[in-house]
């Protein structure tokens, strides 16, 4: 090779390097460069930091948990971990709580966290009807007994109070210095991360809180980039602009992209079961569903394994009982589903007198055909479209005709509550820290302003759930929950069809120690993240 060629190659190379350096300033700080360790994460919506008050409901849930802390933390599987309260005493009647606060804790602005700061925060949200979904909002009295002890007397005893106090909001603590003239100024908490920069609708960065009392994060910065479109998030991962995508509340990966990412060796796909399940609810006002055989038959008619394995390519789990495995207080014995058995389904319908007498393929009894309207919305879960079509064919196979009614999210929600213009509806349970106690309340207690429940109205079930919620003794509570779940399973009050999973795709060339967190409110073990 001549000298001239060398020179040309060298020039070309340096030009390329220069160009690539210009093109992607954010990719700096990668492998062993000795610079700051930074990881880029795609998020589907803005962080809402200009209003991310600890006592508000503004930005994404998980950001509250990164920045703010509460008395307790959700350890997953129903376990409660100490956080800013190191321990607590609960009175016999379950109403008085004494929280012993962690000492030496500072907010990320350097101010002290103590009993005064605690009361300052509590006063901002307790006894406010806006938080009426929480039993911990109704407080009789509260006081600081010393600088690091707070005593709270609640109006009613309720076992989920400690769990509620681990929620992302509004129960966490904001630095009192962040409130000026009764107005929120900036998000300052005691959590492991603090806000460094924020460009609305575009990106924001979080850096470790220098005063954090616990295990310090291993990286120097997380840069969240706002990408609304799900396909664009996948492309941003493929182009190297972000290193992590996924998570139900961070930015879901479309189901059709998951297999593509799985087959690409540059990325690793991580999945974890959620605490959510998708199910079919029966409208109790449709006369046929008062017959348990019909409900049972429809359970037997659905191939749950086929849905998870074939329809969704194993990007989900086969449904069993109404609640997904891992939901506190559910067991194999109390929370079960029915196997796929078409013959059994047909037999049950025949036992109840439903026979196809006119040969149109639809069973009827006394002139009443088994023809139902299935309500759904594809806004939240696009996969409900193929799912509903599959279910339609499953029910046709046993002589039940299904007409699909697909509405937008708001129309669906309205029909599922007020209008009740459906026979069966695709629904999902709550997830994360809301199962099972809040979920049961949501689905089986009367809807606000109505005398019927969202899923099934049954006074017996209602009183069993109420009892479980009020039982403070752990063993007695388990026994009570056994009754609740067994009843739901035994009576076939729903048709569980599918358990969704939470998935992430990670650029494994760059990111090390990726671990999915306990639930959607703590979607990733952010502090463990590192760079290769």
């Amino acid at each position: 090779m001549s000298k001239k060629t060398h020179a040309v190659i060298a020039m070309a190379l340096s030009a390329v390097m220069l160009l690539s350096a210009c093109g992607s300033p954010s990719s700096a700080g990668g492998a062993g460069s000795g610079k700051e360790k930074e990881i880029n994460v795609a998020i589907y919506k803005d962080g809402g930091f200009d209003a991310l008050d600890a006592a508000s409901y503004n930005g994404p849930h998980f950001l509250y948990k990164m920045i703010y802390e509460g008395f307790t933390e959700d350890g997953g599987g129903g376990s409660i971990l100490p956080s800013l309260a190191t321990n607590w005493d609960i009175s016999e009647d379950g109403k008085t709580y004494i929280f012993h606060l962690r000492e030496g804790v500072k907010f990320s602005d350097g101010t002290d966290f103590n009993a005064d700061a605690t009361l300052f925060n509590l006063k901002r949200w307790v006894n406010d009807d806006r938080h009426a979904a929480l039993s911990s909002t109704y407080v009789d009295s509260m006081e600081a007994t010393d600088a690091h002890t707070v005593k709270i007397v609640y109006k009613d005893a309720s076992y989920p109070i400690l769990l509620e106090l681990s929620y992302p909001r509004p129960v966490r603590f904001l630095s009192p210095a962040s409130i000026k003239d009764e107005k929120f100024t900036q998000p300052v908490g005691t959590g492991p991360w603090m806000l460094e920069s924020y460009k609305k609708d575009s990106e924001f960065t979080l850096v470790p809180n220098p005063y954090y009392w616990g295990e310090k994060p291993k990286i120097d910065r997380i840069r969240f980039k706002v990408i609304t479109d799900a396909q664009a998030r996948v492309m941003a991962l493929q182009s190297g602009e972000v290193d992590i995508i996924g998570g139900d509340l961070v930015g879901k990966i479309p189901m059709e992209s998951l297999n593509e990412l799985k087959s690409n060796s540059d990325f690793q796909v991580f999945t974890k079961g959620t605490l959510c399940s998708h199910f079919i609810a029966f409208n109790e006002k449709t006369a046929a569903f008062q017959d348990k055989n019909v409900r049972l038959a429809m359970n037997y008619a659905v191939d749950k394994r086929g849905i998870a394995a074939d329809l969704f390519d194993n990007n989900g789990l086969e449904a069993g009982g109404m609640y997904q495995k891992g939901v506190p207080y559910t067991t194999e014995k109390n929370n079960y589903g029915y196997p796929y058995d078409v013959d059994r389904a047909k037999q049950l319908l025949e036992e109840s007198g439903y026979i196809d007498s006119d040969g149109d393929g639809i069973r009827e009894k006394g002139g009443q055909k088994l023809e139902f309207k299935l309500l759904l919305s594809t806004d939240e879960f696009p996969e409900w479209k193929p799912l509903s079509e599959f279910l339609q064919s499953e029910f046709t196979a046993v002589g039940i005709k299904i007409n699909l009614s697909t509405l937008d999210k708001n129309g669906y929600d309205e029909a599922a509550t007020d209008g009740r213009g459906y026979d069966i509806a695709l629904m999902r349970t709550a997830s994360d820290s809301w199962v099972p106690h809040s979920s049961l309340r949501e689905l089986f207690f009367d809807l606000a302003g109505h005398d019927y429940a969202k899923v099934w109205t049954d006074d017996n079930l209602k009183s069993m759930i109420t009892k479980a919620l009020l039982t403070m003794d752990e063993n007695a509570r388990q026994a009570q929950y056994d009754k609740v779940f067994s009843y739901i399973s035994e009576e076939a009050l729903t048709i569980p069809v599918y358990y969704p999973i939470s998935s992430f795709a990670v650029n494994t060339k760059k990111v090390a120690n990726f671990e999915i967190g306990v639930n959607n409110y703590a979607p990733v073990e952010w502090s463990k993240l590192d760079i290769k």
């Binding site: 809402g48 209003a51 409901y57 503004n58 009807d129 009426a132 492309m235 941003a236 949501e442």
Partner: protein
Amino acid sequence: MKRFKLIVKRVVQIVPILLIVTLLAFFLSNVSSGDVATVTLQSRGVQPTEQNLAAVREELGLNAPLPVQYINWLKKAVQFDFGISFQTHKPVSEEIFARFPATLKLALAATLMSLVFSIPLALLSARYKDSTADHTIRILSSVGATIPDFWLGLMLLYLFGVVLKIVPVISGSKLSNIFLPAFTLSVAYGATYVRVLRSNLIEVRRFDYMKAARARGLGEGKALAKHGLKNALLPMVTLIGINFGKLLSGQIATETIFSWNGIGKFAVDSMKVKDLPVIQGYIMIVSITYIAINLILDILYMYIDPRIQSD
């Protein structure tokens, strides 16, 4: 004087139109499916109960009867105050105008781009009518006019962002990244312009002034470009103007795919969560833009084509 009177008449006509728009904006957004308080609570991740529903209705000012709410809203709306967003807790006009420049840039770029490639193509097509080139251009413009923008956007983003890596996937509303989203939008509009302009050009070829141009010794192509184009473009001013107004109302799919923070994306996000003040403010601002563009077009025509005032 006649022109001036006509313009005044046009402006006066706007008042009742705007009033009807306010009625539609306010009442339609209220009667659309979903209870505002319930949707707001759900968007916050809170389960609605009787107490928190009542508290939220109070907080959002939804307790007064609708006509009273409308009058209160209208009083402020005439001063361009559309209230506070339920979601962001900031003034709606502030939120919309913060995003408007991004939409404006995209609309200008897309309009410009669609004209830049449609004019030469239409000239070529008209000059060599029924040739292979003409047929190819006509087929391409049919495809271009019907291709869905979200599909085209994703394909372009994949090709240039992921495969070739010459543009970032996240455009971040930066002017340097405007080419792909603007091109995506310009395809459908440009394709329509090619078709309309082509037939206009073919039509003007029959006129006397074209014959005169040819008689003066100008070639067919030159005559078309110099004399025919000006006259063929005139009837398109309305079309381009209306399309520009459409672009200004925000392009949801393109803005979303390219992470371009315009008002279209903001409006759709707000509709999902029934953020009424934003929806109403958006409808008002978009309607006013449309009306303004129409007015400007009307006035423009009076000067371009003096025959119009005698009608």
